[in-house]
C-alpha cells in the first residue's frame, strides 16, 4: 500500500514538473517562436523536397503517354533510369549537364578575374574616380541577369538567324559568325558581365577590411610590393575569393534567362532550360529529376564553400569596417589602367543599357538610322501594323498591370521575409547555443541551395492542389508571394540574425527586468532598434524580387504576370522592342529602388 501511494506521489511531482516545463516553454517567446518556425520551415522547405522525390519515384498520369498500361501512383524507378541511362539520357541530361558545368566554370573564373582586378584597383590603388567606378561596377548585379543577353542580341544578332541585322552588322557590314551570336561563348560572356559585380562586391569588401598595418609590418621587414600582395594581402582575402568563385558557380548553375535567349537558336541546352522544356511539355518527373540534380550540384558547391571558409555566415557580403588603408600608386600605368577601366565600364555596363534603350526607339527592328526613331513602343496608340496591334507599354493596361504585379510582389515578399527574418534572427540569437536555434538557422539556409527554377517547379506541384490546411494556391498571387518569400528567406534571415545579435541581448533584458511583456518588448525595443537594418534588408529583397524571373516563370498565371515574365513572353514572340521597353522600365524601377537603398544605408551610418 505504502509503496503504491509513494509511487503515486512521485507521479504527481513529475506531472507537476512537466506542467511547469510546459508553462515555462510558453513563457519563453523565443522557444515558442522557434517551435512554430521549425514546423513552418519543415513544411515549406523539407516538404517540397519530399514531394518532388515522391513524384520522380511514382508513375504519373502524364506517363500514360509512354506506358499506357501503368496505374498512376505506383512505385517505379522508370524515370530515374530513363533520365540517367535511357536512350535519350545524353540529350536530356549529360549534354546539358556538361554545358551547364562548362558555362558555370567559365563564368565563375571570368567573373572572378574581372571582379577581383576591379576590386583591387578600386580599393587598393590610386585609380582616379574610384567612387564612381565602384558605383557603376555594382549596377549589373542589381539588374536581371538576362538584361545583358538581350543587349547582346541587339548587337550581335546575325542576319542568318535573327533575320534582322544587329548593331554589329549595321556598323561593320559583316555578319557576325554564329559562335559569336549564340551559344556557349555569348552565354558565358553575358553571365560573366553580370556576375563579376558579385565577385567585385565580395572581394572589395574583403580587401577593404584588410588592415594596412598587416602590410606595413611586412614592409618593415623589407618585403616588396609584389611580395606583400602575394604573401600577405592575397592569402587574407583568399576565403572571399574562393567564396565568390563557388557562389558564382552555384548561381550560374541555376540561371535560366540568358541561356534561354542565347542558347535556343543553336539548340544549345543547359540543365535549367532542359528542365523548363520538360516542364512545358508536362514531363514533370524528368523535370524534377533535373531539379534534384541541380540542387545536388548547388549543395555540393556550397558545402565546399563552408568547408573552405568554415563559417557559413559569410555567404552574405562581408561588410568591411574601414581601416586605415594605403593606396598603391599606379604611377606610369595610371593613364592606361584608367582608360581600360573606363572602357570596360562603358562597354560592359553602360552599353547594354544604352543599346536596350535605343532598341525601344526603333520602329522597325534593326534599322538604326535616326529616321526610324519612334516613341510608339512607349506611348503609341494601338496600331495593327506594329507589335500585333498592342499599345505602347506606358499606355498598355496589361503591362502596367504587370508592373503593378512586380511592385506588389516585391513589396509583399520584402515585408513578409523582413518580418520572418527578424523573427528567425530573434530565435537564433536567443537560442544560439540550443539545438532549436541551430536547427532554425540550418533550415532557413536550405532554400539557398535550391536553384530558382527548380524551386519554382517544386512549389508549382506542391501547392497546385489543396495541401493539408493550405488551399490550392495555383494561379493565385499568394503562391508567388509564398515562393519568393521562402526563397529569399536565407538572405533576410542572415541580416535578421546579425541585427538581432546586436540588439537581442541586454537591451531586451533591460526591458524584461522593467516588466515589459514580450509583445511590448518587441514593439517598443526590438522593432524600433532593428528598423534600419530591417529597412535595408527589405529594400534588398524588394530589388531581388523585382528582377526575379527563373523563380516565378513556371508559377505566374495570366493575371499575375510580372514585368520579368512579360519580357520573356514578348521576346519569345519576336516583339523585341516591346520586350526591351519592358526591361528598360523594370531596370528604371530597380535603379530607383537601389538609389533609395543607398540613401537609407547612408543615413543609417550617419545616425549610428
Amino acid at each position: 500500500m505504502r509503496a503504491v501511494s509513494q509511487g503515486y506521489q512521485m507521479d504527481s511531482v513529475t506531472r507537476a514538473y512537466a506542467l511547469y516545463r510546459v508553462r515555462r516553454f510558453l513563457q519563453t517567446p523565443y522557444k515558442v517562436a522557434g517551435a512554430v518556425l521549425i514546423i513552418l520551415l519543415a513544411y515549406f522547405i523539407i516538404g517540397p523536397l519530399v514531394t518532388m522525390m515522391q513524384t520522380t519515384l511514382t508513375w504519373q498520369s502524364e506517363d500514360l503517354r509512354y506506358a499506357p498500361g501503368v496505374s498512376p501512383g505506383t512505385l517505379t524507378l522508370f524515370h530515374w533510369s530513363r533520365v540517367l541511362f535511357g536512350r535519350t539520357s545524353a540529350s536530356m541530361l549529360w549534354k546539358p549537364l556538361m554545358n551547364t558545368m562548362a558555362i558555370s566554370v567559365g563564368v565563375s573564373v571570368l567573373a572572378l578575374a574581372i571582379g577581383g582586378v576591379l576590386a583591387w584597383l578600386v580599393v587598393r590603388t590610386d585609380l582616379p574616380f574610384r567612387h564612381l567606378v565602384s558605383e557603376l561596377a555594382v549596377i549589373p548585379y542589381s539588374l536581371p541577369s538576362w538584361v545583358i543577353a538581350l543587349a547582346w542580341i541587339v548587337v550581335f544578332k546575325n542576319r542568318q538567324i535573327g533575320g534582322v541585322t544587329g548593331l554589329f552588322e549595321y556598323i561593320t557590314g559583316a555578319s557576325p559568325p554564329n559562335w559569336l551570336s549564340y551559344g556557349i561563348i555569348p552565354i558565358t560572356l553575358c553571365l560573366a558581365l553580370h556576375y563579376y559585380s558579385f565577385a567585385f562586391t565580395l572581394i572589395s569588401g574583403a580587401l577593404s577590411s584588410v588592415d594596412a598595418e598587416l602590410e606595413e609590418a611586412a614592409e618593415m621587414v623589407g618585403a616588396t610590393r609584389a611580395q606583400i600582395l602575394r604573401k600577405i594581402t592575397f592569402p587574407i582575402v583568399l576565403p572571399a575569393i574562393l567564396s565568390a568563385l563557388i557562389l558564382t558557380f552555384s548561381r550560374a548553375v541555376g540561371t535560366f534567362g540568358t541561356p534561354v535567349f542565347l542558347g535556343l537558336p543553336v539548340r544549345f541546352y543547359v540543365l535549367s532550360t532542359m528542365l523548363y522544356a520538360n516542364m512545358e511539355n508536362r514531363f514533370v518527373s524528368n523535370a524534377y529529376i533535373l531539379a534534384l540534380l541541380m540542387i545536388l550540384i548547388s549543395a555540393a558547391t556550397v558545402y565546399a564553400n563552408t568547408r573552405i571558409i568554415r563559417a557559413r555566415r559569410s555567404f552574405v557580403t562581408l561588410g568591411g569596417r574601414g581601416f586605415r588603408r594605403r593606396l598603391v600608386k599606379l604611377g606610369r600605368l595610371k593613364g592606361i589602367v584608367t582608360l581600360l577601366v573606363a572602357g570596360f565600364l562603358a562597354v560592359g555596363v553602360l552599353l547594354p543599357l544604352v543599346v536596350l534603350v535605343w532598341q525601344t526607339f526603333m520602329l522597325i527592328e534593326g534599322d538604326f538610322s535616326p529616321s526610324n526613331f519612334t516613341l510608339h513602343y512607349w506611348i503609341g496608340l494601338p496600331n495593327p501594323r506594329f507589335a500585333e496591334g498592342e499599345a505602347g507599354i506606358l499606355r498598355n493596361p496589361m503591362i502596367l498591370g504587370g508592373a503593378w504585379n512586380s511592385i506588389r510582389l516585391a513589396l509583399t515578399t520584402a515585408l513578409i521575409t523582413g518580418v520572418a527574418g527578424t523573427l528567425v534572427g530573434y530565435v537564433v540569437a536567443k537560442g544560439r547555443h540550443t539545438l532549436l536555434g541551430r536547427a532554425v538557422e540550418q533550415l532557413t539556409f536550405l532554400p539557398f541551395l535550391m536553384p530558382s527554377i527548380a524551386f519554382g517547379a517544386i512549389y508549382l506541384t506542391m501547392f497546385s492542389r489543396p495541401h493539408w490546411i493550405i488551399p490550392s494556391l495555383y494561379g493565385t498571387f499568394s503562391i508567388l508571394v509564398l515562393t519568393c518569400s521562402i526563397k529569399s528567406l536565407p538572405y533576410s534571415a542572415r541580416s535578421g540574425i546579425s541585427s538581432m545579435l546586436q540588439i537581442g541581448g541586454e537591451l531586451e533584458e533591460a526591458a524584461e527586468v522593467a516588466g515589459a511583456s514580450w509583445f511590448t518588448r518587441f514593439r517598443r525595443i526590438l522593432i524600433p532598434l532593428s528598423k534600419s537594418g530591417f529597412l535595408a534588408g527589405f529594400l534588398l529583397t524588394f530589388i531581388t524580387i523585382m528582377r526575379e524571373m527563373s523563380l516565378i516563370v513556371l508559377l505566374v498565371s495570366p493575371s499575375t504576370r510580372t514585368l520579368t515574365t512579360m519580357t520573356y513572353r514578348y521576346n519569345e514572340q519576336g516583339l523585341n522592342q516591346m520586350g526591351d521597353a519592358i526591361t528598360v522600365l523594370l531596370v528604371t524601377l530597380i535603379l530607383i529602388s537601389n538609389f533609395a537603398i543607398k540613401r537609407v544605408l547612408r543615413s543609417r551610418e550617419e545616425t549610428s
Binding site: T88, I161, G162, N178, P265, E365, G475
Partner: protein, 386 residues
C-alpha cells in the same frame, strides 16, 4: 431545459443533413452546367438577347488565346457589345493546357474561353475530362463540317508552310521538303522550337506519320531508295534536317522576319505560320509561300474554341464565341482571323482576299489520335537529335 437542448440539436442536425443532401443531389459542376445551359443542358436555340443581358451583369469575359490577334478582338467585341469587357491573355497552347489543368485541379476558375491549337491534347486532356465544354452556336451548326462540330468546335485553320524570300527568288528555291536537307540550305532552315509549340511538334509528327509518302518523295528527288538510319523515312527526314543545321527559333514572327526582310543577299528559308503573310501585305516584309513543294508545303493547324469548365462568366463567353464565329464575309469577331493564311472552319465564309482557297492548299491534316499516343515517343526521338 434539456428539451430545448434536444430541440436545437435536432434543428442543427436537420440543417446539416439538408445541406449535405443538397450537395449530394447536385455537384457544383452540374449546377454550373444547368445555369450556363451547356453540355447536356444546351438548348436547341439560344435567346441571344437574354444572354447579352446576363453577360452585361457578368461584366467581363476572360479569354486565353494562342493568337495575339485576340487584342484586336477585344476592341471589336467591346464596341459591338458595350458593357462587357474582354480580358485577353495571349498564351501558347502548351501553357494554356497546363494552366487549365492545374487551375481546374485547384478549383481556381479564371478563364471563360479558350482559343487554342493542339487538337490531340484538347480532346484527351481537356474535353474528355470535362475541363473544356463544347459550345456550338445553333446559328452556325449547319455550316460546320462534322469534325469541327464535335467533340470541340473549331474556329479557324491555319498552317505552317515553307516560305522563301520573294525579293531574292522569283521562283520558289525549293521544290521538295527533301531539298531542305541539301547542303545549300545548311544552317539556313528556320523552324520554331517544337518544345515550345505543340503545332510544330504536330508538324513533325505528321511528317513521320506520312513516312511512306516521304519515302516516295525521296526516291523522286534523289532517284534512289532511302537508306534508313532511323525507324522510317519521316524520322530520317527530321534527322537530316537537324543534321543540316536546322535553326530553332522562339517565334514564327522571328522566322517571317528572318526570311522576309528586304535587301538580303542570302536569305534563309523558313517553316512558318502562313498568317504571317499579313506583314507582306502591309509591305513590311517580302516573302511568299512555296505552294508547290512536294509532297506537301506544310501541315494544317486547326484552332479550337471552347468554354472552360465552371467559367465564371458563361453568358459573356457564349456571346464572345458566337461573335468570334463571324459572318459569311469574314466580318465581326472573325475579322482578325480573316486574313490570308487563316481560314474559317465555316464552309460558307468567303476566302480572304489575296489568299488561295483552302482546297488548293497542299497540306496534311494532323491525326490527333496518332499524335496523342506518339508524343512521348517523339519527345524522346527529338531529344536524341539535340
Amino acid at each position: 431545459m434539456s428539451r430545448k437542448v434536444l430541440l436545437s440539436v435536432l434543428v442543427v442536425l436537420t440543417l446539416v443533413m439538408l445541406q449535405a443532401g443538397l450537395a449530394w443531389g447536385e455537384t457544383p459542376q452540374e449546377k454550373w452546367l444547368k445555369d450556363a445551359k451547356l453540355g447536356p443542358y444546351a438548348p436547341a436555340a439560344e435567346d441571344w438577347q437574354a444572354i447579352y443581358e446576363a453577360a452585361k451583369k457578368e461584366g467581363r469575359v476572360v479569354i486565353y488565346s494562342m493568337s495575339s490577334r485576340v487584342f484586336k478582338l477585344k476592341t471589336l467585341f467591346e464596341s459591338a457589345y458595350p458593357g462587357i469587357e474582354v480580358i485577353p491573355y495571349d498564351l501558347p497552347t502548351n501553357t494554356q493546357i497546363e494552366k487549365i489543368k492545374r487551375e481546374q485541379a485547384s478549383k481556381v476558375y479564371n478563364a471563360d474561353v479558350c482559343l487554342l491549337t493542339g487538337g490531340s491534347l484538347i480532346i484527351h486532356d481537356l474535353v474528355k475530362s470535362h475541363l473544356l465544354w463544347n459550345f456550338v452556336p445553333p446559328e452556325v451548326r449547319d455550316v460546320l463540317p462534322p469534325q469541327y462540330r464535335e467533340p470541340i468546335m473549331g474556329h479557324h485553320i491555319s498552317m505552317k508552310v515553307v516560305i522563301y524570300n520573294s525579293e531574292k527568288y522569283s521562283e520558289p528555291p525549293v521544290k521538295s521538303l527533301w531539298d531542305l536537307t541539301k547542303p545549300e540550305w545548311k544552317g539556313k532552315v528556320l523552324f520554331k522550337d517544337p518544345f515550345r509549340d505543340t503545332g510544330n511538334m504536330e508538324w513533325l509528327m505528321t511528317v513521320i506519320q506520312h513516312s511512306e509518302e516521304m519515302a516516295a518523295e525521296y526516291k523522286r528527288v534523289f532517284g534512289k531508295d532511302i537508306t534508313l538510319t532511323t525507324e522510317n523515312a519521316g524520322q530520317e527526314f527530321i534527322k537530316m534536317l537537324v543534321k543540316n543545321g536546322l535553326v530553332l527559333m522562339s517565334s514564327d514572327g522571328d522566322i517571317a522576319k528572318a526570311v522576309g526582310t528586304k535587301g538580303q543577299k542570302d536569305p534563309p528559308i523558313g517553316i512558318c505560320d502562313y498568317g504571317k503573310m499579313r506583314d507582306v501585305i502591309d509591305g513590311k516584309l517580302v516573302f511568299n509561300v512555296a505552294f508547290d513543294v512536294k509532297p506537301v508545303t506544310g501541315v494544317f493547324q486547326p484552332a479550337f474554341l471552347g468554354i472552360v469548365n465552371q467559367a465564371p462568366h458563361p453568358n459573356a463567353a457564349k456571346l464572345l464565341i458566337k461573335f468570334m464565329m463571324g459572318d459569311k464575309q469574314g466580318g465581326l469577331g472573325l475579322e482578325p482571323w480573316h486574313v490570308p493564311g487563316n481560314y474559317s472552319v465555316r464552309t460558307d465564309v468567303v476566302t480572304p482576299a489575296g489568299a488561295k482557297p483552302l482546297s488548293e492548299m497542299n497540306c496534311w491534316m494532323p491525326d490527333f489520335e496518332y499524335i496523342y499516343y506518339h508524343t512521348a515517343e517523339f519527345f524522346d526521338f527529338w531529344l536524341s537529335l539535340l
